[in-house]
């Protein structure tokens, strides 16, 4: 991530998408034809828009003032169709109806342009979202660790929007504007080439000015966005940390911090507004001057007899039609230049390699011994060794306890077993029933290992949906049973919505311990062959902890259980206990063996027992 900030990612050779365009074309599959139709109908709209001024010109020149001149072929066709000049002069309503009909036709074409564009855009959007989401789901866990979640989310939301806008709005609009300008120029040249020069001379000026300005303002906008982000973060932190703020009585500090940032943000925007206001107004002035120039020059030409009155009226309206498109074109061009960055940011995700699938097709039985054989592991970022030459064997169907300090490599070991982390070839091997897990189908492996995470994650669905999320159907009996083993049934029953309580909805928040128990129930529903509890009872009190373990023992059907905990009481009944110290196995054996060893285990045992030392009389009394 840090590396990325220094040098923005650019797609290169040998990757899935070697260039920006290859990825855009990939996303466009299935929606291209919509956009082609959009361009076609845009052409129709522009043409029809241009037709009406022509008809008005004709009406003024030939019907109202009885002039005689050559007509463009298509106007001639329409006039002939309407019954010829003489009939029209007597029945001018026919011309009026034609104008209305053309407007109707324009409306229909305009409707089609918008609808087809939306169809294409939404299809494109859906394809981008689905592909990205699917891709991200299949990226290795280490990739998730290396990239900030906030950053990925932003790429999936705002960068995707930017790309959609680039294709569906900007690209399409650019085509449309170019067609419109080209056609307008064509008609204008047809009326008077010399007058067209006066009109067209403004186009490069407006275009250049608009592009220059939008490029400049782009940076200012980005700064303002960053300021807003910073301000928003202050508010967010203040709200999530409201208890800390109050407990330390730091409201004044918080207020000053927020108001200072708020003032900066406001100032920045007001400065930006002045820039914007200046741009809008000066642009208005330029357009106004252009219209004035065309009016004056047109009048002079008319007086000199170079053009007719009707031509003058038509010319003025063509000129008016081009004012906005030209201004828009400048904006579109400068916005388009920014889409490249978003495309690169999406490319970065799409070009990341998904978890490998080559040569891992085996689906051996999983109720076999698990063996770690000289396993060492170093994170990709080259920090210190997390695991060093770890070897042990877990008998199928047995219960193993793992004890170790913070950062001793307990979780890493389990992530390796579940293949969340990939063990490199030369760093030892992990086998289940003598089959190297690197050869086992990844999803098969994971679905047979139930790993309850240290920090449980619940989905924003109901409790019953959460518990049964691994099942194809929600079997309420199974759900209740799992909840009972996880000692969560009473808690759930105390909620007014029971199992249909929505997790994460306002007002209903589960405590840390309740979340852990829900995650345990979630795992238990599937009764996987291998169960791993990665310190998953840390937020639960000892009594509940014991209840859960007892219920679990009663309901086990030959599963292998791995318990990671800081609590001796949780581990002491295990068939085998492994003590990890800074990535190495320090001690190994059952409770009694380890006690006699007088090592780390013994020390921790003594510490945890300390409270009971002076009162052993009382406790013994209770037992007897």
């Amino acid at each position: 991530m840090h590396q990325q900030e220094k040098e923005p990612y650019k797609p290169g050779k040998g990757e899935r998408f070697p260039s920006r365009s290859s990825m855009v074309l990939y996303f466009l599959k299935g929606s291209t034809h919509y956009f082609l139709w959009v361009v076609f109908f845009s052409f129709c709209v522009s043409f029809l828009d241009m037709l009406n001024p022509k008809l008005i010109q004709y009406t003024v020149d030939y019907l109202l003032t009885a002039g005689q001149s050559t007509l463009p072929a298509y106007v001639g066709v329409i006039v002939a169709f309407l019954g010829g000049q003489e009939v029209l002069r007597a029945q001018i309503w026919r011309m009026a109806i034609t104008v209305a009909c053309i407007a109707l036709l324009t409306g229909i074409c305009r409707y089609l342009v918008r609808l087809l564009n939306s169809k294409g855009a939404e299809k494109l959007m859906r394809r981008m979202r689905d592909t990205l989401f699917d891709h991200i789901q299949h990226l290795p866990f280490s990739w998730h660790g290396e990239n900030h979640t906030g950053d990925i989310i932003q790429r999936c939301t705002s960068d995707v929007e930017t790309i959609k806008a680039f294709i569906a709005d900007q690209l399409v609009m650019m085509f449309r504007i170019i067609i419109l300008i080209a056609m307008g120029m064509y008609f204008m040249v047809g009326i008077s080439p010399r007058m067209t020069i006066f009109s067209a001379v403004f186009i490069p000026i407006v275009l250049a000015y608009s592009m220059f300005f939008h490029n400049r303002i782009g940076d200012a906008f980005r700064h303002a966005d960053e300021e807003e982000g910073a301000l928003s973060a202050i508010a967010q932190e203040n709200l999530t940390g409201v208890r800390v703020v109050r407990a330390f009585g730091r409201e004044i500090y918080e207020r000053e911090r927020f108001e200072t940032k708020n003032e900066d943000y406001t100032r920045m925007w007001i400065r930006l507004m002045r820039l914007l206001a200046g741009f809008w107004c000066s642009n208005d002035l330029i357009s106004g001057l252009q219209i004035m120039l065309v009016t004056v020059v047109g009048a002079v030409f008319c007086v000199h007899g170079d053009i007719t009155v009707g031509q003058y009226i038509a010319f003025v309206s063509y000129n008016g039609m081009l004012t906005w498109p030209v201004r828009g074109l400048g904006r579109v061009i400068s916005e388009m230049s920014k889409a490249g960055i978003s495309i690169d940011r999406i490319c970065y995700i799409m070009n990341a390699r998904v978890e490998g699938t080559a040569g891992e097709t085996r689906k051996p039985p999983m109720d076999r011994d698990i063996a770690f054989d000289h396993v060492s592991y170093v994170y990709d970022n080259g920090s210190a060794e997390v695991l060093h030459d770890v070897s042990f064997r877990i008998k199928a169907g047995s219960t193993v306890g793992i004890l170790g300090g913070t950062g001793s490599g307990k979780s890493t070991m389990m992530y390796l077993l579940d293949r969340l982390y990939e063990l490199p070839e030369e760093h030892g091997s992990i086998t289940i029933g003598d089959v190297d897990i690197r050869e086992i189908d990844r999803y098969y492996l994971r679905s047979h290992i139930g790993l309850v995470l240290q920090e449980p994650f619940l989905f924003s669905r109901t409790l019953s949906e959460n518990i049964s999320i691994t099942q194809s159907q929600t079997d309420m009996n199974k759900v209740r049973h799992a909840a009972r083993i996880a000692a969560l049934d009473e808690t759930i029953d105390s909620f007014s919505a029971g199992y249909e309580t929505f997790v994460g909805e306002r007002g209903v928040t589960l405590s840390g311990g309740q979340k852990q128990r829900a995650a345990i129930a979630q795992m238990l529903v599937g009764m996987p062959t291998i169960m791993i509890f990665d310190d998953s009872l840390s937020a639960v009190d000892t009594e509940t902890d014991e209840r859960i373990r007892t219920a679990l023992q009663e309901n086990l059907t030959g599963s292998t259980v791995i318990l990671i905990s800081h609590r001796i009481t949780t581990l002491m009944h295990a068939d085998q206990i492994i003590v990890l110290d800074r990535g190495r196995i320090a001690e190994q054996g059952d409770h009694e063996t380890l006690l006699q060893k007088n090592g780390i285990y013994r020390r921790i045992y003594d510490i945890q027992m300390a409270g009971a030392d002076g009162n052993s009389g009382a406790s013994t009394e209770a037992v007897s």
Binding site: I92, G107, F258, A277, A299, T406, F457
Partner: protein, 609 residues
């Protein structure tokens, strides 16, 4: 779909678009707004006059074939353009200024008000919801008070001017266009209301998709371990497909809308051409006048559309106005009385010179308590004396309500009846800030602010020296953690302390509390995610720092609290036993069973060996 924003559905209508409710916040900008309105009207006058120039050019120069007066014509035209540009520039700039200032003032007001609200407000509303009130509602209201208002002025006065000009030039022809106005209004309103509903739906689906993405990424590990990639993907695709269909549906409506507007303006054009053409042929009207009518006929529909759209946006904003003003008018259910504020100052203006030194005697006198959002009585006629320096432990099952007492001591909540006394006086007789400034609170879920380690540790004591900071870190055995970081005290902890493990965060927040040298120390299961050896070190530290301080320790590992001066045992939200460790064991009650259960297994094992 069931997200916190499902309330977005509502359409609320407030009298005068809720402006009266906002008046206190916009009062100081009213003169400027009035000026803006006047200038806006001037600008519209100018806009509606341009076609008249064209008319003059046609009627005067073109038809009469003369160029006399062309210079004056150009000068007038350019002069008006320049003046209007200046006028527009100032209006736009002011508009931006008013928008941002209202936005800023509202945001400050909301943020500051939140600093005074009690915890029950934060328990009842989630952070995302409150955050949206502070950050996005305020912005929308700023836009409403500036740009939306100006939109109505600009477009409204333009329409009026055009109608007046048309009627005065040729009232008969003007009536034809006028007849179309009601049709346009009905048509536009029809589409507009439909579009509001559809757009709202789209926003809602959009937020569902965003939270899907959020879940898919933050929950990546859980999804992988549960092997539910396919299921999550299917659900996601359902939402994206729903989005696609709804968006296309909305475009269908808005495209029909723009098509009908196009057609309607075509009708206006043809009406003018027909009637105007006949009038021109009959020499009743000049060609220039016809031309000016043609351009008005084409130009009047857009402002009508704008006005209606602006009104519908104003209606849509009412929800935001309502929510924000409700936040601003929410009274805190823990508030200092005017007398207390008079003497000790309020949250933002403390009168520290009047503050007595806090000693640390705490007493509950006949306290009955019920959470404001609950109906169960948690404490009933509870009495407890905690003399200065006493170490109180609170034990019980997860979720049994152990934090209640602490919340009362810290005055995060107030008793439903009875009194909590601090140093012999009702806690309500002194300001909250006075109390909070002398309390150290370490939470179960530690919260760090983004910034450096130093900034975080200094949070409770801004003037702490580095030596003092290291001293506190040593006390809680966190000095090693900080020393191992790349930049020591200057290391960045990341957003919400994201760069640290839960255990490390707990240790740092513990050090932060110690550093402030509080008179009353609260440890709310502060050591649950720390490994045994580190916890042992902390426990030694706790013994040192609680000496001479009143302290409340919430714990579920009983070994941590056997030395406490008094132990309170909580079950189902009620305190059922109290006493020292020995007394409680002798009672053979719930504590006894909790305690023996925690150690019985080991004792048994020892017997067997």
């Amino acid at each position: 779909m069931n997200g916190p924003d499902s309330k977005e559905q509502q359409i609320i209508r407030l009298p005068f678009f809720g402006i009266p409710r906002l008046y206190p916040y916009i009062k100081q900008y009213v003169p400027r707004i009035v000026l803006m309105i006047l200038m806006g009207i001037l600008s519209s006058l100018a806009d509606s006059a341009y076609p008249l120039f064209n008319q003059y050019a046609l009627n005067h120069f073109v038809t009469q074939g003369t160029l006399v007066g062309l210079k004056t014509f150009i000068l007038l035209y350019v002069g008006m353009l320049v003046l209007q540009t200046l006028n527009n520039f100032i209006t736009c700039y002011w508009c931006g200024q008013v928008e941002m200032s209202v936005d800023r003032d509202l945001r400050n007001a909301a943020f500051n008000h939140l600093q005074t609200l009690s915890f029950s407000y934060f328990n009842q509303n989630n952070v995302g919801y409150i955050h949206a009130r502070v950050m996005s509602d305020t912005g929308k209201i700023g836009v409403m008070m500036a740009w939306r208002l100006m939109d109505i002025i600009w477009n409204g006065s333009y329409i009026l001017c055009v109608l007046v000009v048309m009627l005065s030039i040729n009232w008969r022809l003007a009536l034809y266009i006028l007849a179309l106005v009601p049709v346009a209004v009905v048509l536009i309103s029809f589409f507009q209301t439909r579009l509001i509903v559809l757009n709202r739906k789209i926003r809602e689906i959009n937020s569902t998709i965003t939270s899907d993405i959020n879940e898919g990424i933050t929950g990546a590990r859980a999804i992988k371990t549960l092997v539910i990639e396919r299921r999550i993907q299917n659900d996601f695709e359902k939402d994206t497909e729903n989005m696609r269909r709804t968006s296309v549906g909305a475009t269908h409506v808005s495209a029909l809308f723009s098509a009908s507007v196009t057609f309607l303006s075509g009708v206006a054009l043809s009406l003018v051409l027909w009637r105007g053409g006949m009038m021109t042929m009959a020499q009743v009207m000049q060609i220039g006048t016809l031309s000016v009518f043609l351009s008005y006929a084409l130009g009047i529909l857009e402002p009508i559309q704008n006005v209606i759209q602006t009104f519908s946006e104003l209606i849509a904003i009412q929800v935001n106005v309502e929510r924000l003003t409700r936040l601003l008018s929410t009274a805190s259910d823990v508030a200092d009385s005017p007398e207390v504020i008079e003497k000790y100052g309020d949250t933002f203006h403390p009168k520290k010179e009047n503050w007595e030194k806090l000693i640390g005697d705490v007493e509950f006198r006949d306290v009955t308590f019920r959470y404001p959002d609950g109906d169960e009585i948690v404490l009933s006629h509870f009495d407890l004396k905690v003399p200065q320096g006493t170490n109180v432990a609170i034990v019980g099952e997860t979720g049994a309500g152990k934090s209640t007492l602490v919340n009362l001591v810290c005055r995060f909540f107030e008793p439903t009846s009875g009194t909590v006394l601090i140093d012999g006086r009702d806690a309500r007789e002194r300001s909250q800030l006075w109390l909070h400034s002398s309390i150290g609170y370490v939470l179960q879920t530690p919260h760090l602010f983004s910034g450096t380690v130093r900034e975080n540790l200094r949070y409770g004591k801004p003037d702490a020296t580095d030596e003092g900071i290291w001293e506190a870190l040593r006390l809680v055995s966190a000095d090693g953690i900080v020393r191992r970081m790349d930049h020591g005290l200057d290391s960045d902890v990341g957003e919400g302390g994201a760069m640290l493990s839960t255990g490390e965060k707990q240790l740092l927040s513990f050090a932060r509390a110690i550093l402030a040298d509080p008179r009353i120390l609260v440890l709310d299961e502060a050591t649950s995610s720390i490994d045994t050896v580190t916890e042992r070190a902390i426990q030694d530290a706790i013994k040192v720092v609680t000496k001479g301080r009143t302290s409340f320790v919430i714990a579920h590992r009983l070994s941590t609290i056997v030395d406490a001066d008094i132990i309170l045992v909580v079950r189902d939200g009620r305190i059922i036993e109290r006493g020292t460790h020995e007394e409680l064991l002798a009672q053979h009650g719930y504590y006894h069973s909790l305690f023996t259960r925690q150690y019985v297994e080991m004792s048994l094992n020892e017997k067997h060996t």
